[in-house]
C-alpha cells in the first residue's frame, strides 16, 4: 500500500481554462478520502490527474515515494472505477475482470484464481460467463469494482461510481464499497458531487469549488467547523441558514442583533471564537443549522434566545418536522454553494429559514411561531471574505 501526495498541483487546459489551482492533498496509507464539490469544481480533473488520464500542468504527484507525474497510467499501480463503469461490452465478466492480468501476462491458472477470488468477494460468481449487457446496473458496478480489486493496486481511484444507480441500490453499494475498502485497506480517492455520499464514506472529505480546495477534514469537523461559507452551505441538508447580524460585544451582555431579535452570546461562545472581538459593532454573517432551531414551546427555555417567524411550509417527515419560515432580518450578500430549490419562496421581505423541529411541534402553515436558537452552535462568518470567524 502507499500514500498519495499532491503538491501544488495545477491543471490548465489548452484553451486556457484553469481547472485546478494549487491543490495540496495528503492521503495517508489506507485512508479513504472523498473529493466533493459541485459539478465543474475540478474534482474529476484532479482525480484523472492522479490516474494519469490528464497531464499535470504544474506541481508534483507522489504515489508511495515515487514522483509519478510522467509515469504511464498502467505503471502507477492504481485502479480506476468509472462513473459509467466502462466495462468492455464484448467480453464476459470473467474476461473483463481478468483483462489487466492477461495484459500483464500472468499465468492462466493465476488469472482464474484471482478472478474467482474477486468474484466471490463481490458475489459475482454466478455471472462470470455473462456479458455486461446482460447484467443489471448494480452488477455492472460490481464488475467494475472487481476489475479494480483484482489487480491489487496501491491506490483505488473512483469517479462517481454510484451515481448511475437508483437510490436504494446506491445506499446498499455505498456500504459495500466502504466494507470492501476497509477489508482490503487500500488507499482510496473517491470523487462525488453528493455530499451525503461524501459524509458517509470518507475518513476525510476534501471540499472543492471553482478549482480551489476549500477544506479537508473529517466529516464531523467539516459539519461542525466549516472554514468558509461555501463549505458551510455545501455540507448539510437542508443547508445552513444564513442571516446578517450586528455584533455588540461592548456592554455587560455581549450579543448579536438579528433584525428585531437579539441573541445573547455566552462567555463560552466568545471564548471559543476569540476572533469575534475584532468584529465588534460590525455586520457578520450568522449561520444557523436547521437543527439548531427548535419550537420554543418544546424547547421549554433551555435556549433563551428566540426568533419569531412566519411559517410558510410545514413538511412532516415522521421523525421530524421541517418548517420553512420567514424571519424579519437582512439577507447577507454572499455567494453560497447551492441554491436550495425548496427555499426559493418569493414575496415578503426577510430571510427564508429552514428549521428541523421535534415532530410534536404545533407550528402551522401561515401562523407565527417562536423558535429557540442554540446560540452555542451558531457559526460566524466575515461578510467580506466569507471566512469563518474563529481565532
Amino acid at each position: 500500500m502507499a500514500d498519495v501526495k499532491l503538491e501544488n498541483v495545477n491543471k490548465v487546459y489548452e484553451n486556457g481554462f484553469h481547472a485546478v489551482h494549487d491543490l495540496d492533498l495528503d492521503i495517508t496509507d489506507g485512508e479513504f478520502v472523498v473529493l466533493v464539490g459541485p459539478s465543474g469544481c475540478g474534482k474529476s480533473t484532479a482525480l484523472r490527474m492522479v490516474a494519469g488520464l490528464e497531464s499535470i500542468t504544474d506541481g508534483k504527484l507522489i504515489i508511495g515515494d515515487r514522483v509519478v507525474n510522467d509515469v504511464h497510467p498502467k505503471d502507477r499501480d492504481i485502479a480506476f472505477v468509472f462513473q459509467n463503469y466502462a466495462l468492455y461490452p464484448h467480453m464476459t465478466v470473467r474476461q473483463n475482470i481478468g483483462f489487466a492480468l492477461k495484459l500483464r501476462k500472468e499465468s492462466k491458472s493465476e488469472i482464474d484464481r484471482r478472478v474467482e477470488e474477486a468474484a466471490r468477494l463481490l458475489e459475482l460468481t454466478e455471472w462470470l460467463d455473462r456479458k455486461p449487457g446482460q447484467l443489471s446496473g448494480g452488477q455492472r458496478q460490481r464488475v467494475a469494482m472487481g476489475r479494480a480489486i483484482v489487480r491489487r493496486p496501491q491506490v483505488f481511484l473512483m469517479d462517481e461510481p454510484l451515481s448511475n444507480l437508483d437510490a436504494k441500490l446506491r445506499v446498499q453499494m455505498r456500504a459495500e464499497v466502504n466494507r470492501l475498502q476497509h477489508d482490503l485497506g487500500v488507499t482510496t480517492l473517491y470523487v462525488t458531487h453528493d455530499q451525503i455520499e461524501a459524509m458517509t464514506m470518507g475518513d476525510r472529505v476534501a471540499v472543492m469549488d471553482k478549482g480551489w480546495l476549500q477544506q479537508v477534514d473529517t466529516p464531523q469537523n467539516l459539519y461542525d467547523h466549516p472554514d468558509n461559507l461555501f463549505v458551510a452551505t455545501f455540507i448539510g441538508s437542508p443547508q445552513m441558514n444564513l442571516v446578517l447580524g450586528t455584533l455588540d460585544l461592548g456592554g455587560a451582555e455581549p450579543h448579536v442583533v438579528v433584525g428585531a431579535h437579539r441573541f445573547d452570546l455566552t462567555p463560552a461562545v466568545l471564548a471559543e471564537r476569540p476572533g469575534l472581538r475584532g468584529f465588534d459593532g460590525a455586520d457578520v454573517v450568522i449561520g444557523i443549522r436547521p437543527e439548531s432551531l427548535e419550537d420554543a414551546a418544546i424547547d421549554a427555555g433551555r435556549h433563551p434566545s428566540t426568533i419569531d417567524v412566519m411559517v410558510e411550509l410545514r413538511e412532516g417527515l415522521g421523525s421530524e418536522v421541517v418548517a420553512h419560515a420567514r424571519l424579519d432580518a437582512r439577507t447577507p450578500k454572499v455567494e453560497t454553494a447551492q441554491k436550495d430549490p425548496d427555499a426559493s419562496f418569493t414575496g415578503g421581505g426577510g430571510v427564508e429559514v429552514v428549521a428541523r423541529l421535534d415532530p410534536r411541534t404545533n407550528v402551522r402553515m401561515g401562523n407565527l411561531a417562536t423558535l429557540s436558537v442554540d446560540v452555542e452552535r451558531l457559526h460566524f462568518f466575515d461578510q467580506a471574505t466569507g471566512l469563518a470567524i474563529r481565532t
Binding site: 490516474a51 494519469g52 488520464l53 497510467p73 498502467k74 492504481i78 485502479a79 480506476f80 468509472f82 462513473q83 459509467n84 466502462a86 466495462l87 468492455y88 461490452p89 464484448h90 483483462f99 489487466a100 495484459l103 500483464r104 476489475r147 489487480r151
Partner: protein, 325 residues
C-alpha cells in the same frame, strides 16, 4: 330493481371494416398513406423484370432466345442448362472458361476487400483516438481524396506500375517508387482497389470508432493496454458491425468492377475476372452470344448471395454510430 343494460357500445372496429361508413377524410388519409408503399413495390417490380428476363433467357434453347421475347416461355416452355455448362467449362474461341474467371474474381475481390479494411481500421483508430499534431488536417486530407476521380489516376498508376517513379535532382536520380513491373498482375488491381477504397473506408470506420465511449479506452489504458492492444482487443471486436458493413460494400464494388480490371489485367487472360470475360465471351465472329445471359447470371450469383445473407448488416452498418446500443 333490475340493473339497467349498458347502452349498446359503438363498435369502432366494425365501422372501420365497412368503408361505406367510413368518413371521407379518413378514407382519403388511408389511401394516401399506402401510396408510398405502392410506389416502392412498383419500383421493385420494374427493376426486377430485366433480371427475371435474364434468368429466363439463360435457360432457353438458342433458337427460342433469338426467336421471340422471354415471356413467350409461357406458351413454349422448353428449358436447357446447356448454356451454363458451355459458359462455365467450354466457351467458344478458346476464351477463359467461366469457372476459372469465377475463381479469378475471388482472387481479386478478397484481397481487394481485406487489405483496405485492415489499413482503414488502423488509420481510423489513429485518427480518432491518438493525439498527434496535424491529426485534424490529415483527416480532412484523407476525406478530400474521395473527390479524386478514379479515371484520372489510371494513366499515372499504370506508369508507376511499369516504370516506377524517379526523381532527378542535380544529376542524381532517386527512386521514389521502384519499378516492380506490376502491370497485368492481380496485385496491381489489389493496390488500385485498396487506394480508391481507403478514403471512404477510413471515413466510415472513423465515424464509428470515434463514437465508442471514451472511458472504455481509458479503462484499457489503465489496465495496461498500449495502442496496439487497445486496437486489437477493444476496437476491432467493438467495430465488427461497421467492419462488416464496409466489407460488404467493398467486396461488391470490387467484384463488379470492370474498369480497373480492364486497365491493369486485360493483357493477362488467365488472371482476368468475370467482368472482363463476360465481354470477351462474344468473339469477333459473333459466336457465343447465346451464352451471355447464362454468363451474366453466373457473375451476379455471388453479389446476390452476399446481399441476401448479409442484408441486415447493410442496415445496421449504415446506422452504425448514429444510434447508441
Amino acid at each position: 330493481m333490475a340493473i339497467a343494460a349498458p347502452p349498446p357500445a359503438v363498435d369502432v372496429d366494425a365501422r372501420a371494416a365497412h368503408p361505406a361508413n367510413e368518413p371521407v377524410g379518413a378514407r382519403t388519409h388511408r389511401v394516401l398513406g399506402s401510396l408510398p408503399t405502392a410506389v416502392l413495390w412498383a419500383i421493385v417490380l420494374i427493376w426486377t423484370i430485366p433480371t427475371i428476363g435474364l434468368l429466363v433467357t439463360s435457360v432457353r434453347p438458342e433458337a427460342d432466345q433469338f426467336g421471340a421475347g422471354w415471356w413467350t416461355i409461357v406458351t413454349n416452355p422448353s428449358l436447357t442448362a446447356e448454356h451454363y455448362g458451355n459458359a462455365l467449362f467450354d466457351p467458344p474461341g478458346g476464351s477463359l472458361p467461366f469457372s476459372d474467371a469465377f475463381l479469378n474474381s475471388f482472387a481479386i475481390a478478397i484481397p481487394g476487400t481485406l487489405v483496405p479494411i485492415a489499413i482503414a481500421a488502423a488509420a481510423a483508430y489513429a485518427l480518432a483516438w491518438m493525439d498527434f499534431k496535424g491529426r485534424h488536417w490529415l483527416f480532412i486530407g484523407v476525406l478530400a481524396m474521395m473527390a479524386v476521380p478514379l479515371q484520372m489516376a489510371l494513366v499515372p498508376l499504370q506508369q508507376l506500375y511499369t516504370g516506377g517513379a524517379h526523381l532527378t535532382i542535380a544529376g542524381t536520380t532517386f527512386i521514389v517508387f521502384p519499378d516492380l513491373d506490376l502491370n497485368n498482375k492481380p496485385v496491381a488491381v489489389w493496390l488500385a482497389h485498396t487506394a480508391f477504397g481507403l478514403p471512404l473506408a477510413i471515413y466510415l470506420l472513423h465515424n464509428y470508432i470515434s463514437g465508442l465511449p471514451r472511458d472504455v479506452f481509458e479503462a484499457a489504458r489503465i489496465d495496461g493496454a498500449g495502442h496496439f492492444g487497445i486496437f486489437w482487443r477493444i476496437v476491432l471486436p467493438l467495430a465488427k458491425p461497421a467492419l462488416a458493413a464496409f466489407a460488404i460494400f467493398q467486396f461488391l464494388w470490387v467484384w463488379n468492377d470492370y474498369l480497373l480490371a480492364l486497365v491493369f489485367l486485360s493483357q493477362n487472360q488467365d488472371a482476368s475476372p468475370l467482368t472482363i470475360q463476360l465481354v470477351n465471351l462474344v468473339t469477333s465472329r459473333g459466336q457465343g452470344t447465346e451464352l451471355l445471359p447464362a454468363a451474366a447470371f453466373i457473375s451476379i450469383v455471388v453479389p446476390l448471395i452476399i446481399f441476401f445473407s448479409l442484408q441486415r448488416y447493410f442496415v445496421r452498418g449504415l446506422l452504425a454510430g448514429s444510434v447508441k446500443g
